[in-house]
């Protein structure tokens, strides 16, 4: 197991390098630069800005220099937040996104998995239809619709929560719910699908035939296999959740990392794009690694190989 993990971490290096390279050249190909604005910048001013931020060097030199800066974690200055580096931005906003993402993930798993398991074990009864219809509704209502509706009901009409911000504990409720409910719906449906697959398979039947209680058959034996699609889904989902969601952060004015991904691209802040992409990529790989480890753990046959 340890060698497996070490190997995967070793693979991360070329992957990050590839991501860095692709992203670096992609953003240079994109039209518009960090300094363009409604009022055009004078030629000689632009020249000076390009010089200062290193855009006048040959592309390959810039490529190497920025790469080195990322390796040494001595990040280049930003053009969209003057006086800060991506390290400041990430260290300030990632804890926010992480907290929000974990709340949302907790809500999603807490609601989604039991709903899916119950629905699958009572297939085609109202215990199946009700949670699945709710889940389907959750999937059909995008976060940009659910968020404002929740804010309207709980923040404005009932005054139970705040409508936006990220200061008091109350501020966590609506964004976590909006994000969590959406993922809960996904997880519920994936769980149900996976469970149905397993419940009709031989070894659960065997377990049932051997007299295992229904609870044991469903939860202990079936869940282990049935949850597989959920786990595959969780990897990218987790990385996506903890790095923040642009929509939810915008609606609820959460100072998280998700907005920086989009705004960095909108503002063509090249160093911020590169740094956040590399950060996100590392998380993705970490999450996928965790998922793969989990898959091995849940699948005894893979483990003993």
């Amino acid at each position: 197991m340890l060698t497996f993990i070490l190997k995967r971490l070793g693979q991360a290096v070329p992957v990050l390098l590839a991501i860095y390279t692709i992203t670096f050249f992609m953003i240079r190909l994109a039209p518009g630069g960090p300094f363009s604005d409604e009022r055009k910048v004078a030629e000689h001013i632009l020249e000076r800005q390009m010089e200062y931020y290193g855009y006048n060097d040959p592309l390959i030199v810039q490529y190497g220099r920025t790469l080195l800066q990322h390796v040494k974690l001595d990040l280049p200055p930003l053009t969209s937040h003057i006086g800060l580096t991506a390290a400041d931005i990430i260290s300030e906003s990632f804890p926010v996104s992480l907290e929000l993402g974990l709340w949302a993930m907790a809500i999603a798993l807490f609601l989604g998995v039991p709903a899916g398991v119950i629905a699958a074990s009572r297939q085609n009864t109202w215990l199946d239809y009700t949670p699945m219809s709710l889940a389907m509704t959750g999937i059909c209502l995008p976060t940009f619709v659910v968020g404002p509706i929740l804010a309207l009901i709980f923040g404005i009409w009932l005054r139970w929560t705040s409508v936006a911000g990220w200061a008091s504990p109350v501020d966590r409720i609506l964004p976590s719910l909006t994000l969590g409910l959406y993922y809960a719906a996904y997880i519920a449906r994936l769980t149900r699908g996976g469970m149905l697959e397993i419940l009709s398979s031989d070894f659960v039947r065997t377990a049932r035939a051997k007299g295992a209680t229904e609870f044991r058959a469903v939860v202990i034996h079936a869940l282990r296999g049935g949850i597989l699609p959920v786990i595959s889904f969780l990897g990218p989902a987790l990385a996506g959740l903890v790095t923040g969601s642009f929509v939810v952060e915008t609606i609820f004015q959460v100072p998280g990392l998700g907005r920086h991904f989009v705004l960095a691209a909108v503002n063509r802040d090249h160093s911020l794009i590169l740094s956040t992409v590399l950060f996100y990529a590392s998380l993705i790989m970490l999450a996928n690694l965790m998922v793969d480890v989990l898959q091995v753990l849940l699948n005894p046959k893979l483990r003993y190989k």
Binding site: M26, I139, C140, P142, L152
Partner: protein, 355 residues
Amino acid sequence: MHLSPKIKTEPEAPRSLWTDSFRRLLDNRLALFGLGFFAFISIMCYLGPFAYRLSPDSQVLALESTLPFTKAQLVEVRYDSEKATPDEVTTLVDFGEVYALDPEADTAALSRDGTLTLKGIKFDAVERFHLLGTDSKGRDILARIMRGGRISLGVAFLATLTALLIGVNYGLVSGYFGGRLDVLMMRFVDILYAIPFLIFVILLMILFDGFRYKILLVFIAIGAVEWLTMARIVRGQVLHLKEQEFISAARATGVKTFSILSKHLAPNLLGPVVVYSTLLIPAVMLLESTLSFLGLGMGANMASWGTMIKDGQESMRSAPWELIAPSIFFSATLFAMNFLGDGLRDALDVKSAKD
């Protein structure tokens, strides 16, 4: 070494399996209902405009948002009385405020005679019935839903299919062969996950500037992102399945790799694939609206369901039906697809077929 019973039956009667499945599908009322509703929506979107003849683009600014079941009293304004199309369409009320010399008398005269000429400008009274009301520019919502449905259903179908084809095959190969190939393929997926989507879309737009079939770019953009998770799910499933007895058995008896993949593994993947596809469809439809906001895809005035929902959300508090109407069509269609998907899954389920 014993063979799983399903392996034995398979080669004999694949045709009967399909017939079986079809019969089971017909038995599933919910699935049939889904199929029926889906057919109804498709027919409505494609043939509806022939019966409901209001144009989705024709604006009546003065009308603004109106409630469903509104009969609007409109006035066509022609500065040149010979002209076929009106220069402006406005409401009777607005006519009284803007054009009429004597608001009360002129409005009364116009609604009585149906036509009126003032200072060389010709006015004709017309009536329009808006079944689902109008949006903030006085455009008919139902007409827009019908046209938007064509875009959304088309995108949903094609983009999901693209994501499905790539994702399933990729995951199948990666999971089944394992080893180095698996590592390589999965790390490639990791790379694609991390590429900034916004920049990718902007580049696509620039590279294909002036390209006539921009809608194809939408498929590329959506396909490029949405197959990744599908591939991961399929791979996870294959890793689990390939250790099961019936696969090892097939391998041991020398069944060709291709037929193991297509005949033994693929059918067992149906469940998660169908479930994930039904989850993919709404995501794809909404992603399309994001892309069109960025300028990729349809012209800006061609509203898909996703765009309509997005616009409706903006006016959620002033004209909620602008959000509710497209959302209902959107959700209902997805519910129908979902029932159909579940029905298909159950019908094609090899294991329950043995019961």
